[in-house]
Symmetry: C2
Subunit: 323 residues, 2 copies
């Protein structure tokens, strides 16, 4: 029997109701095995396996401090369930930084990884999604970390999206190698000197939702801004389209497109670089997003993504962990 997916029942703006509903959908539609983690009154009597946790980490708490102090929080207990072999993966729509810290402290890092990064799939209508990383784990980055992100992202695209030699681009404000911030200029040189990557050079904002590149590497500040800009603009534009087409016969032909570009379709990003599967969902996740995040977590477990990452990260060229 497959190990369950540990779900943080307390995480997210719409927890616990939407989280519970998402878990029910995963169970009822696919027979998914869920391990609920959270306050006793929330996790008991729901028909799921459960781990009780007396504490909750709020969305705006300081992540590292919260994880250190709240040892009986749902996030920490979920991470421990994975570490202890009671769950195959964890899913949380809670405080992103805290989810990351819990996974990092309890799972540990993969060899060769200085900092884990959040990898998000950006939907590209009519094509394969683009892997964007770091989409929010590290507001400030060193150029060497971006090379590690490139390696992890490339491996992730290969395993998850079945792209044999993923094209990796570095986010900048011009395609020329000499353009951008000092971080980008140095990272460009380092990436160019990394033979095991198919580095295609600098890319620009418009390439994230395009067909020219498979993996976009950037620091966590820029990546998070890109992600939220995309979500906001696409949601906004689609809402306007829907509003203006209201009542028009045949307009339902757009329903698949709305679903395709909806950020909830992928329902969660993977934290790459830790020794276990941690799927981080949007704070505003609905039941549908949670259900999709559980699907994602199961897929990542079945694809052995973490094992696949061990090879590429553990090379002579990679910076030793902890440096």
């Amino acid at each position: 029997v497959a190990l369950p997916i540990a779900v943080d029942a307390m995480g997210g703006d719409r927890a616990p109701a939407e989280v519970l509903e998402g878990c029910r959908r995963a169970r009822d539609t696919r027979g998914e095995r869920v391990l609920l983690v959270g306050r006793p009154e929330v996790v008991q009597g729901q028909g799921f396996e459960a781990i009780e946790a007396s504490e909750t980490i709020a969305m705006d708490e300081d992540p590292a401090q919260a994880v250190r102090r709240k040892k009986d929080s749902s996030l920490v207990r979920a991470a421990e369930a994975v570490r202890d072999g009671r769950a195959a993966a964890m899913v949380s729509a809670g405080n992103t930084g805290a989810a990351m810290a819990a996974a990092l402290f309890r799972f540990g890092r993969l060899k060769g990884v200085t900092r884990p990064a959040i990898a998000t799939l950006i939907p590209v209508p009519g094509g394969r999604p683009t892997v964007l990383l770091d989409s929010g784990a590290n507001a400030e980055c060193q150029p060497e970390w971006l090379v590690q992100f490139a390696r992890m992202g490339s491996c992730y695209a290969r395993v998850r999206l079945a792209i044999e030699h993923p094209r990796v681009g570095l986010m900048s404000i011009g395609e020329e190698a000499g353009k951008g911030s000092p971080l980008v200029k140095t990272a460009n040189e380092l990436l160019d000197a990394t033979p095991d990557l198919r580095f295609v050079g600098n890319v620009e904002g418009r390439d994230v939702m395009g067909h020219e590149v498979d993996v976009v590497v950037t620091d966590g500040f820029t990546g998070n801004v890109i992600l939220k800009t995309l979500e906001g603009s696409v949601n906004f534009a689609m809402a306007e389209v829907r509003r203006r087409l209201a009542g028009l016969a045949g307009a339902e032909i757009l329903e698949p497109l709305y679903a395709e570009v909806d950020p909830e379709t992928y329902g969660g990003a993977m934290l790459l670089g830790v020794d276990g599967v941690c799927v981080i969902s949007h704070g505003s996740s609905s039941a549908r997003a949670i259900d999709n995040a559980i699907t994602t977590a199961r897929e990542l477990v079945d694809l052995h993504v973490v094992d696949a990452l061990r090879g590429p990260m553990h090379t002579d060229r990679a910076e030793p962990a902890g440096s």
Copy 2:
């Protein structure tokens, strides 16, 4: 008689053909007075006033160096025409950095401005556009510059968009003041201590195309990434909508929306902080974009935007120019 708008006939990926066509439209539809600046064989015989310039600055040339060396380039001559009172404003779709350098060196800075910034209007369907700055002039910024950008952007929104007390937000990766890069954290404190601004705190990527804020302040790297991400995703999404609706009766009801969100609608961004009107158009500008950029330039002249900026920038609180 109003002074003409100086247009760089050589600037942009589609120059000179589309630029000339844009100038013709401006003249023929609105009686606009255009002063063409460029190579003799391009600017002569077109029925416009003309300034001959023997040199051209390429899209990928080093901006400051090109402007220093190519004193007879169309960009430099266009900026000189404004400085010398032969034109009311300049418009270029050429090398952005060079257009900026030409304007900076020939017009000079406004008092209180350390670095000029590019202010772009982001279309918001069903609402007023958002002013985004810096959208590409300064890849690296000091926190104090962001305060200047906030002042300039606020003044610009007041004069151009007729918003009495514009709401100014600082781009970050979370609404809490303590979130973001060190640059953002310091800038947040400085902005909070600036009483003449209506600072609403940190905003996120999704707010750029939203109704909650009028001015979004950020460094030129992040701003440029946001701008191109928006352009790319909205264009991509709209193209998909159009493709999937092809042949559906009544689908033309979306035409106004396509036009509204098209980046070419505003046809150019203003360089704020120099002592003259400089409108910078997208490198890929079509005739329509050039025509709209000329409209924008005329509007900015008529609104006396540069004069309006003198007051807010020349305060005791503002950092002295050149510091």
